[in-house]
Amino acid sequence: MTVENKLALITGAAGGIGRATAELFAARGAQVIAVDRDAAPLQELAQSGITTIIGDMTDPALPETLAEEITRIGKPLAILVNNAGIGGGGRLDQTSDEELRRYMEVNVVGLFRLARFAVGQMQAAGGGSIVNVASIYAEVGAQNSSGYSASKGAVAALTRQMATDYGPEGIRVNAVAPGLIETPLTAERIRTEAWRHEIFVEQSPMRRVGQPQDVAQAIAFLASDEAAFISGESLRVDGGWAMGRYPREAQI
């Protein structure tokens, strides 16, 4: 996949999907700037030659810091992977205004701000590719997720609008919609919460949850020149989960 020698900015790169993506891009010869608010895991990435920036998605000054770093590197920003976000459950009646604002502040406002920054950089360079990490919860109904799903729905809509606006300037914008992905946090939940294991493993078509690498591969494809004619799309990486539960005993 042709991300070789391209400058790629990846947010939420300290763990999970973001980290797998940063490692995959680096392995394919991209020059990676990894952003996260957690300093310690970033240091490990720095040891493998990745440029790291400690930064918070809710910080309005983050684009400025990134602009300085990009100027220092002296290469146009070709790829943005807008991965940073927060997750969590809660039905509407269990979600306060404050919690809702937190989802929106990180998953929508922070992502919007970085996308605006990247578009500016890419317009100057004559094109680029943006991949937003949405969620399968942006596309199908699921229990116990109101604020998070609403924020990811906004990401899905923004992806289409940006693709329409900036296509003429050579900027492609796509999304991935991951299903349940195994990270240190979710692995614990899948182990300890029986209902989660039942729905996401036992009743999923492939009988497994996804790995961060599964999503990283899809992001790398959409970001690369191989996907030059793909824009405004949302690619589900969910093992077929959103097409319907598939109870083991009822193969009908």
């Binding site: 329409t164 296509g167 050579g170 078509p205 492939m206 793909i230 824009s231 077929g240």
Partner: protein, 248 residues
């Protein structure tokens, strides 16, 4: 793209003799598959194989009418263990609704849907545990005037892909589709009823797609790296289907 090193690295591409099918064959060969290039036109299939060989890959030509169930079964039996099937062969023609006859529908569905089913059934059996099927749909599936028989046959490909994905998931076989938008093939250039500039004006990026654009998407979905993606139809249309707000 990573080279496959598994034993069953064989891929079948129907309609591999020209255009999108030829590009898919070349991409899959480059990814390390031994590619069975099946086409109604055996000479064209041979030409594709010659291109594969020249590029250092492995290929084999097969003359195949995909609507001939027995021929399909015999070919897949000859080929043996399979890693990948790409259902690319299909037909297209333009006919307004009031001129369409039931026979037009039957013929379209016979090639674009029923033959795809036969190929999938034989191929899935030859894949054992694990493999990838990629069907070529079309953005026409979203709704298109002047060729409702074609558009709905491609909508059927989307529905078939989702259902078969559910059925084959326990076997570790992924089933996905790629839905091309307007692709600049020799066939498109040869059509007298098309104005390429008018088509380009409908694209957000101002350009039409190439067979390589489709082939790259197929190769991605066919690779083990896309093993957690199934039942999906990936539109490769340059954003054309995003709607009308293009400011033109």
């Amino acid at each position: 793209m990573a080279q496959h090193t598994t034993e069953a690295n064989v891929a079948i591409v129907t309609g591999g003799g020209a255009g999108i099918g030829r590009a898919i064959s070349l991409h899959l060969a480059e990814a390390g598959h031994r590619v069975i290039v099946a086409d109604l036109n055996g000479a064209m299939a041979e030409e594709t194989v010659a291109l594969i060989t020249a590029a250092g890959g492995q290929g084999q030509a097969e003359t195949l009418d995909i609507t001939d169930e027995k021929a399909v079964a015999a070919m897949i039996e000859r080929v043996g263990p399979l890693r990948c099937l790409v259902n690319n062969a299909g037909i297209f023609n333009v006919k307004p609704f009031d001129a369409l006859e039931a026979e037009d529908f039957r013929r379209m569905y016979e090639v674009n849907v029923v033959a795809m089913f036969s190929l999938c059934q034989c191929a899935a059996a030859a894949m054992g545990q694990g493999g990838a099927i990629v069907n070529i749909a079309s953005r026409a599936m979203l709704g298109s005037a002047q060729y409702i028989h074609y558009a709905t046959s491609k909508a059927a490909v989307g529905g078939f892909t989702r259902s078969l994905a559910l059925e084959l998931a326990p076997k570790g076989i992924t089933v996905n589709a790629v839905a091309p938008g307007v692709i600049e093939t020799d066939m498109l250039r040869a059509r007298s009823d098309t104005n390429l500039d008018a088509l380009r004006a409908l694209q957000p990026g101002g350009t039409l797609g190439t067979p390589d654009d489709i082939a790259a998407a197929v190769a991605f979905l066919a690779a083990p790296q896309a093993g957690f993606i199934t039942g999906q139809t990936l539109l490769v249309d340059g954003g054309r289907s995003l709607g009308g707000a293009l400011g033109i």
